[in-house]
């Protein structure tokens, strides 16, 4: 790599050709403040519109200031990141942004985690020059079942737009209007629910301010917990335990499974269960469906649709319902673990406990915002009563714990309750990209071949590359597997299948970067993709530590089939654990 020499604040630096001023400054310990710029290096996602102008620096010989995030260093450049001209400009621009931003920080859902607030603190803003009653750009608020848009707080960083269009290829959000009234919005400023939005929530995950937030259910849960007539059970998704600790100052990647169970118990949940149990159940159904389709296919049945696509991810389900309505019979009909859990909890478990369906409240803690949308879909309700009543995010759970004054870090490690709290390592890895298909392979292999797996870890299925492919040898039968995370990569795979370019037996798709560990309900990464990497590693650590690592060996799953469901793909299973899809093509 060609090197060039530059001078930053009187320090000589040698950098690779192509390095931006921002990156070069970072190398010598100068963190130039940024607002719109975001770089998720591990995931190959970058937002660099050069719009906020907070990161400007002075480059000698240049007439105006340069945005350091998007100005590439050239040989001999002399840069000042901190002189009065730069500081005054930065401060004035930040004041301008604040002058068009509501000053309700104390009661803003983003307070304390807001990048704009952090900047104001860092830059010591003490007053905002502008005329009295200066006009503010205000917009209609938009509340969807999963996320809220309060565009009064939008700073036009365009991160959401980049995520929605370039990364997810959903195309629900783009800039509209001109000048002072410009805003990022669905087409014609309609509501998200009427747009092709999949509720993946990645826009929320990257929003620096309180403009995009989750639909908050915590108050409803506090009320349900206080209601003596209700039995409130909670399920926690695999990815939550790998991230919740971050909300309490723990190092990213710290597993807090035991503390989380203890906290939920102290919050007053009657039963603390695990979505991982339902993940094992999903593998039984989805894995059996996969084997069924492959066996029929190998037997010469041409009506069989291959590849089978996983269906655990609700944003992905929304995505194909909206974008691939012609392929609705391709994905597995298995419900997601959240919904399988709800269906079992409100039938099998409620019966066991002698509780009426209406008196049970099922709460799910999810790394995801699309789960909020999923649980209120009509097909997951019985007489209007949903299988899962409320889905809250990892962040909302942390807020609940804080509201209840629980000192999370000093909690003892506790176990989940039984019977719906027991899970295997296969259930845990659902939280990371490639995990579902690895879990499915662990079970499908043994069911297909009738022999024990020679190895449990399928490293070829793991990683953070957007699209991965591998062939697994099922005792002489090669099974081709595709994996994609982020919907843009899913689109590439799907288009490849449509055109006949790819030939897969099974494909796993997760909407969020890294899978559920990078979900929109997780603690905010603020552009640090190494956090997602740390969670990723934690998930596989948890898997490795589990005594049982194959779903079909989960004793409570075995018992559930014996006592209630019969066998995978039975009539009862179909009724409770499978679903169908709808054409939701918008335009």
């Amino acid at each position: 790599m060609e090197k060039i020499k530059i001078n930053i604040d009187n320090t000589l630096v040698e950098v690779d050709k192509g390095t931006t001023i921002y990156q070069a400054a970072k190398k010598i310990g100068i963190n130039i403040p940024v607002l719109c710029y975001m770089n998720l290096e591990h995931l190959n996602i970058e937002n660099r519109p050069g719009g906020c102008r907070i990161c400007v620096v002075e480059v000698e010989g240049r007439r105006n200031l340069a945005p350091s995030c998007s100005t590439v260093c050239s040989e001999g450049m002399v840069i000042h990141t901190n002189n009065p001209r730069v500081l005054n400009s930065r401060k004035t621009v930040l004041e301008l942004i604040l002058s068009d931003h509501p000053k309700d920080c104390l009661i803003c859902p983003k307070s304390g985690k807001c990048e704009l607030q952090d900047l104001a603190v860092k830059m010591g803003i003490r007053e905002i020059h502008s005329v009295e009653n200066a006009e503010m750009s205000t917009y209609r608020k938009d509340c969807s079942p999963a996320l809220n848009r309060d565009m009064d707080k939008c700073v036009m960083c365009r991160r959401c737009e980049t995520i929605c269009n370039d990364v997810q290829t959903v195309g629900a959000l783009s800039a509209a209007n001109r000048g002072f009234m410009s805003v990022v919005t669905p087409a014609f400023e309609q509501d998200l629910i009427d747009s092709p939005c999949t509720f993946c929530g990645q826009c929320v995950a990257v929003c620096p301010t309180g403009a995009l937030t989750e639909f908050d259910h915590t108050q409803k849960i506090i009320r349900a917990l206080a209601d003596p007539t209700k039995t409130v059970v909670v399920q926690t998704a695999p990815a939550v335990r790998a991230a919740l600790g971050e909300e309490f100052g723990l190092t990213p990647g710290t597993l807090v499974t035991g503390k989380m169970a203890a906290a939920l118990r102290r919050l007053g949940f009657d039963k603390v269960f695990d979505t991982d149990f339902a993940a094992d159940l999903t593998i039984m159904e989805e894995g059996t469906e996969l084997l069924d389709r492959i066996s029929k296919y190998l037997g010469g049945d041409k009506s069989v649709k291959l590849p089978i696509l996983t269906s655990c991810c609700p944003a992905w389900v929304n995505f194909f319902e909206c974008n691939y309505p012609d392929m609705l019979d391709v994905p597995s009909t298995a419900r997601s673990p959240q919904q399988m859990f709800g269906a079992i909890a409100k039938t099998y478990f409620a019966d066991k406990m002698g509780i009426k369906r209406e008196d049970m409240v099922v709460v799910s803690v999810m790394p995801c915002l699309a789960k909020k949308y999923e649980c209120q879909r009509d097909e997951f309700k019985v007489d209007g009563n949903p299988d899962v009543d409320f889905s809250i995010s990892t962040r909302e759970l942390a807020a609940l714990i804080k509201t209840a004054n629980i000192d999370f870090n000093t909690l003892p490690d506790e176990d989940f309750d039984n019977p719906l709290g027991e899970s295997t390592g296969a259930g845990v890895i659902f939280g990371a990209t490639g995990g579902v298909i690895e879990a499915a392979v662990r079970t499908a292999y043994e069911l297909f071949t009738g022999s024990k797996l020679p190895r449990i870890d399928f490293k070829e299925l793991r990683g953070l590359d957007g699209i991965r492919m591998a062939t697994i040898d099922f005792n002489g039968t090669p099974i081709n597997i595709g994996i994609a995370h982020q919907l843009g990569n899913a689109r590439k795979l799907l288009d490849g299948i449509r055109s006949g370019m790819y030939n897969f037996h099974a494909i796993e798709i997760m909407a969020c970067p890294g899978g559920c560990i990078g979900g929109a309900g997780q603690p905010l990464h603020h552009g640090h993709s190494e956090i997602i990497k740390a969670r990723f590693d934690a998930i596989y650590r948890e898997d490795a530590s589990k005594p049982i690592r194959k779903s079909h060996e989960n004793p409570y799953i075995v018992k559930l089939y014996e006592e209630f469901l019969g066998k995978p793909l039975s009539e009862k299973s179909h009724h409770l654990l499978h679903t169908h899809y709808f054409d939701k093509h918008k335009i």
Partner: protein
């Protein structure tokens, strides 16, 4: 082409068409036929003559008689008297405002005497919808010469040597731009003509496109040959229907003549042109925003580099030049780089077209050599200030240019001098102001435009311009403070320093230049709560002079807010707090008893 003894040129520019020039053409033709003169004289609908102040214009060739403000009813007289009998119709001739004498031909009119028409050479001279007339004026000769006698490298060298700089506002040397685009290797390159003229009141590009569309076709083809592009695109605003039509006609004719398409003039050079329509966003005149708009994206600029010459339309090397820049290209190849470089100043060569407007006698389109002074433009070509008022300022460079004062009148106009004086060349707007204009209001007016036209991408332009405008409004309302003035300056400088594209980097110019040159006027608004020009409504104080008031109550009835009280036949009083300064009382009072301060 048929041979005629006389040609009657009728302006077919948008302004004159709005004043019935199409009807004039019809009537002239009818009268010619009537008198059996259709083989002696030909009526030609041309592009703009530039002298829009006195349109519709009819010019007779070969004697250059210049008739102004012609009506359809005048046509019969023109034909009978001038064409048939050779007697000029005196009442339609231009009258010199100073000497009050009729001037018989355009060559002796002050408006034209100081002009040098290169870009506008064919405007008002040829029928823009007839390729033969263009060819008769050496059209496509330059293209032929370049294509058959030069390699692209030599042709680019000539462009560099000519010293032509971009006429769209930036003033970047055209030859260097071409050289960069030529040096980038790609399977496909594009030549783009920026016809997104957006400055309010500016119509130089429109006039060229309407009056001489073939020159743009020819220049784009030359540029395509120089940089190795086979595709040309014209980004033109949809609000220019006539320009679009004439360009379409020109492209069609050029294709028919084999001047566009494959194997042009027996060489293996291929080039063709398509049109792309803009929706009229000012920011789309910025080349990166223009390219995004052409690609179907939101018209927003992006950070440069990469420049379009590296990665432009569809990610391919793209050379973007403005209409007026292109209009200079064929002449440079015909007459040579040295000839072009001999006109103008050291660093600004050739001529510049200006749209002269405001409080000036001769409103219109002019082309002058670089280096001419503002005084010559305003007083000699423009005929001085209207109604004998005093010159106050001239605003150059469109909405984001600056205001210059009488101390700049003798500054030679070129790119660098205008920037040094706190304004800019821009695309060539020139608006003259007189003593009745309030400079704070002027700055506010321009800011209103940039606030409206900001794309909203970068914070300084999106919010900063809005705040500047609000602060100016506050000052105009008599509520400003001296601290506001300081902040106004600081904010303006920061916006210039930090905005993403040319729009934001120049939008505070009207504020900064008026603060610099008319600081006293700002201070008067702030400290004395007075608008020296008497334009700011909120700073007017309406009172009744008791001695003059007869108590007729006319003002009481006219006042929409019941601010005037008093007994009948007794002097009335205006409640200052209630008064909204609408002026209704002033208009109604027959006894000049209302006093405005």
């Amino acid at each position: 082409m048929a041979q005629y003894k006389m040609h009657i040129l009728v302006c077919g520019g948008t302004g004159c068409r709005a004043s019935q020039s199409e009807q004039i053409v019809e009537n002239l033709n009818a009268e010619l036929k009537n008198l059996g003169l259709e083989n002696d004289a030909q009526v030609v609908t041309t592009g703009c003559f530039g002298f829009c102040e006195k349109g519709p214009i009819v010019k007779i060739i070969p004697d250059n008689t210049f008739y102004t403000q012609v009506t359809p009813e005048d046509c019969a007289e023109i034909i009978k008297e001038h064409i048939l009998k050779g007697r000029k119709v005196a009442r339609l001739l231009y009258e010199d405002p100073e000497t009050q004498k009729h001037i018989e031909d355009s060559k002796h009119m002050g408006f034209y005497q100081k002009q040098l028409r290169i870009a506008l050479r064919n405007c008002g001279f040829i029928d823009p919808e007839n390729i033969d007339e263009y060819i008769a004026r050496d059209g496509y000769a330059a293209f032929g010469k370049v294509l058959t006698e030069m390699d692209p490298k030599t042709a680019v060298e000539i462009m560099k040597k000519s010293g032509l700089r971009g006429r769209g506002g930036g003033g970047f040397p055209t030859g260097i731009k071409w050289e960069i685009a030529a040096s980038n290797k790609a399977d496909q390159k594009y030549v783009v003509c920026n016809a997104d003229e957006g400055d309010p009141g500016a119509f130089m590009d429109r006039s060229i496109l309407e009056g001489d569309p073939h020159t743009i076709v020819e220049a784009m083809a030359i540029c395509g040959y120089c940089i190795g592009a086979s595709k040309g695109l014209v980004y033109i605003r949809a609000e220019y229907p006539l320009a679009i039509k004439r360009l379409q006609v020109a492209i069609k004719q050029a294709r028919e003549y084999g001047l566009l398409g494959e194997g042009i003039l027996g060489t293996n050079f291929a080039f063709d042109i398509e049109l792309r329509y803009g929706a009229g966003a000012f920011v789309c005149g910025e080349e990166t925003a223009l390219i995004h708009s052409m690609e179907g994206h939101r018209g927003e600029p992006t950070v440069k580099p990469p420049f379009p010459a590296e990665s432009g339309y569809l990610g391919k090397p793209t050379n973007v030049n403005n209409v007026e820049t292109f209009a200079n290209v064929p002449v440079i190849y015909l007459k040579g780089a040295d000839w072009f470089a001999s006109i103008g100043t050291t660093k600004s060569k050739g001529t510049k077209v200006f749209a002269l407007a405001g409080k000036i006698n001769n409103v219109g389109l002019i082309e002058v050599p670089m280096g001419i002074t503002l005084r010559e433009v305003i007083y000699e070509i423009g005929g001085g200030i209207k109604d004998g008022k005093k010159f106050k300022a001239v605003q150059t460079g469109g909405p984001s240019g600056g205001c210059l004062t009488d101390k700049h009148l003798d500054t030679p106009i070129d790119f660098d001098n205008l920037i040094a004086a706190g304004s800019m060349m821009g695309s060539g707007g020139m608006i003259v102001m007189d003593e009745d204009d309030c400079m704070v209001s002027v700055a506010k007016f321009y800011l209103e435009f940039t606030v409206e036209e900001s794309c909203g991408k970068c914070a300084p332009c999106r919010i900063g311009n809005k705040r500047l405008h609000e602060m100016l409004e506050k000052i105009c309302n008599g509520k400003g403070t001296m601290e506001d003035l300081e902040y106004l300056k600081n904010l303006s400088r920061v916006i210039k320093d930090t905005a993403l594209c040319g729009l934001g980097q120049t939008s505070p110019n009207p504020v900064l230049s008026t603060i610099e040159h008319f600081y006293d006027e700002y201070v008067a608004h702030v400290k004395d709560r007075v608008c020296p020009a008497g334009r700011c409504k909120a700073l007017k104080l309406y009172t009744i002079v008791p001695e003059k008031c007869t108590g007729c109550t006319a003002c009481t009835r006219a006042c929409p807010v019941a601010a005037i009280t008093g007994e009948k036949r007794q002097p009335h009083v205006i409640d200052v707090d209630k008064c909204i300064r609408c002026g209704a009382c002033y208009d109604k009072c027959k006894f000049t008893a209302i006093n405005i301060q």
